[in-house]
Each structure stands twice: as C-alpha cells, then as structure tokens.
Amino acid sequence: MDPQINDYGLDLHCTMILEEYREFLPSFRRVREIVLSELQRIIDESGLFISGIEGRVKTEESLAGKLELKGSKYRTLCDITDIVGARVITFYGEDVDKISSLVDKAFVVDWKESVDKRKLHALDSFGYDSLHFICSLPESLCKGETLPALTSIRFEIQMRTVLQHAWATISHDTGYKSGFEIPREHLRNLNRLAGMLELADEQFSLIRSSISDYRRKVDALVKGGKFEEVMLDGDTFRSYLELNPFEFLMKRIAMINQAEIQKTSSMPYLKVLQDLGFTTLADVENMRTKYSEEAYHLAVSQLGGTDIDIITSSVALQDLLTVYILSNGGGEKGLEKMYTTVGGPSAYNAVRAKQVFATASELPFMKNDF
C-alpha cells in the first residue's frame, strides 16, 4: 500500500477505492480529453454561441475528502460518477436544453442518475442549479484507444447559464450548501440573490427572443417592400442592402468602361443617411428612385473620359448621395462632411469635395437647381 495514501487516514475500504483511482488516473485523464473534444465539436457544429466549456479530473485530495465524508456510500470506484467532470456554460437558459439534447446524442446518458436540478426546488424555496447528466463514452469515441475501461468510466456533464455558474461559484464560496449554519440574515440575502439571478436569466432570454422577433418582422417588411414602416438603423439598412437596391445603377456605372466591380460594404454610408435626416428606409428608397439618373450622369462625367475599368460597389450609393447633397444645397461642405463621415477626417476631403463639386456643376441637375 502506498504510504502516501495512508496519510489521508481513511479506512481500508476507502483506501482501496483511492488505490483504484490511482490505477485508473491515466484513463480518467483521457476520458476528460475525449469528452471536452467531443463537446467542442458538437457545439461548434450546432452554431450555438456559448460562454465556455471546462473540465477536470477530481484530484486525489478532493476524492479523499469526499471518501472521508461519505465513503461508506460507495461500494466501488465506479459508484463515484463525478471523478471526471465537464461543464458547458451558456449565455441563455434555453440553450441549456439545446446543449442537453446534443449531449444526449453524443454520449451514453444514464437517465436514472441524471438530474435536472432546475426542477427540484420546492415552491417556497429558491435555488439556482444546473442540469447534470451522468454519461459514459460510446464505443465510437474510443476506437483505437489503448487505455483500459474508457467506456465504463462514468462522468458528469453540467450544463448551466453564466448566471447559474456565478451563483454556484459564489454560493459554494460562502458555504451555502456545506451544512455549516449561516446566520438567517445572510441566508435570506443569498436566497434573494438567487431569485434575482433566476429572473435575470429569464429576462435575458425574453429580450433575445423579442429582438429576434423584431428582426424577423423587419426583415419581412423590408423584403415585402414596405419601406415606410421600417425605421432606418443598422439592422434594417443591412437587410435593405441584401436586396441589392443599388445593383441596377451600379451595373450601369460599371458599363461605362466595362469595369470590374470590387465588392465593398455600403454600411459606412448609414451614418451619412442618418445625418441627412433620413428616418425610414422609404427615405433611402425615395432618394434612389429620384436621383438614380443624375447619379449615373455624374458617373459618366467622371469615368467617361478615362480608361479606368475597376470600381467599388459602393460607388452607386456614393454618387447618389453626392447628387442628393448637391441638389439639396449641401454644396462642397456637405460633400466634405460625407467624406469625413465615411472615410474619417483628412485634409484631402476638402480637395475631393472641391473637385467633385466642380465636375457636378457642369451637369444639368446642378444648373436647374442653382
């Protein structure tokens, strides 16, 4: 018998369990690696956005402590199901259920031992626990492995939200469940906190769900062409751009010199539109329909005399806004402001504005309006 094991002062039964633990420690470590790798794989494939995955093999000291407290409860090492433990921490409560479904498919779940502690609390008590599955590895994950007993080692997977995790960590630190008597006042405060975190979890899920509903609704309105009902913001403008509203003008401009179109984002122009007072997508759409022809003529006057056969896809919106600003009296200053908003401050913006203003001044839309 290893003299170090004796140092824990355990009885013979517990000492034998501890010896067995030492013997199988490499297998436990390998199970931990396989479990973490498989969890990462299934979560990556699901596309779920989570806070993190962690795992550990219970230390010898920790196991000895557990055996000291309740060693007689365990007949053999196999009865202890949390020597290998993994934890998946999600941001939202409903994702815990999604993860549990993935875990069920990936591992062999022992349903008799697994508990949903979230449902165990009495109506008049607060608690804030996670979902615990006791699992083992399927044969398919152990092919080619040389270590013994990998499929018979049971392990625990906890699934919880970040707030549940925070609660579990803090309550563990305070000795909330240790059996040590906590003064009533502190216990009450801990319970209040548990209730608050549970409500916060629900609210986060509710907010996410509401935002998803809003996005779906806006997307439907945009795709249905009901632009007057859609406020102009980052999400709605992105949905609008997905409809390629400037594609026709873009292709006309490209045809001037049979140019290659380099795809670039038009999102930086959102701030310009908002600064100009556009509040709905209808405002953008009205500008597009009203000024497309003039924007095309501006492009012809700029590109027509050159052999430039490469342009970026945001040129259409740039030219539309140029015409809009000049048609509405914005002048050189208005153009300079647009360049600064989109590309950042630069002394060159004023030069650019002057050049474009000079070119545009020769076009009919400027002569009619000024």
Partner: protein, 100 residues
C-alpha cells in the same frame, strides 16, 4: 517608376515615383511581395511623386487593402496629387483607404 521600401515594426512604408500603369504595376506588386512579411499590418504609400495611376495600379492598392484590413491594419496613402486623388474618388476607393 522608382520605388523605395522601409520596414519598421508592423509598418511597411513605400515611396513610389512616376507612373503606376499596366507595365510598371507588375513590378510594383512583385517588389511589395519581396518586402512584405507576416508581421506587417499597415502599409503606407507616399504618393507625392506618383503622377499617374491606371486600373492596374488601383488593383495593387486593392490587393494591399484586402491584405491589411483583415489583420486590423490599414492602407495609408500620403501626399496624393489631385490627379491620383480624383481617380480614387471616382472609383469609390478614396473611402476605403486612409488618406493623410
């Protein structure tokens, strides 16, 4: 076309003189490749003596832009002449690059 390169930390500084056209752009890109390395995130081009840029030159600029921005870097153009600046403007590229 005359070129000079200087590397300092994550910045590759380039000075280009003359014309960036169909003939010289290939050499320009080849020299950039020789001087480019993984740690480079920003590229600064001194254009004060660049008198002409064709579509081929613009394609080199776009290549550099696409190589630097995914790393959080930028393509900086300095000392633009009105002629080169106008070309960048009418192609929509002036809004992509950092112009100093």
């Amino acid at each position: 076309m005359e070129l000079s390169f200087e590397k300092k930390d994550n910045l590759l500084s380039i000075r280009v003189e003359g014309r960036l056209d169909t003939i010289t752009s290939g050499e320009f890109m080849a020299k950039i490749e020789e001087n480019f390395s993984d740690e480079i995130t920003d590229v600064a081009i001194d254009c004060s003596e660049l008198v002409y840029i064709s579509s081929s030159g613009l394609r080199v600029f776009m290549t550099l832009y696409k190589r630097t921005t995914p790393k959080g870097g930028k393509l900086i153009l300095r000392g633009l002449t009105p002629q080169v600046g106008e070309v960048l403007n009418i192609t929509g590229m002036a809004n992509l690059f950092t112009i100093e």
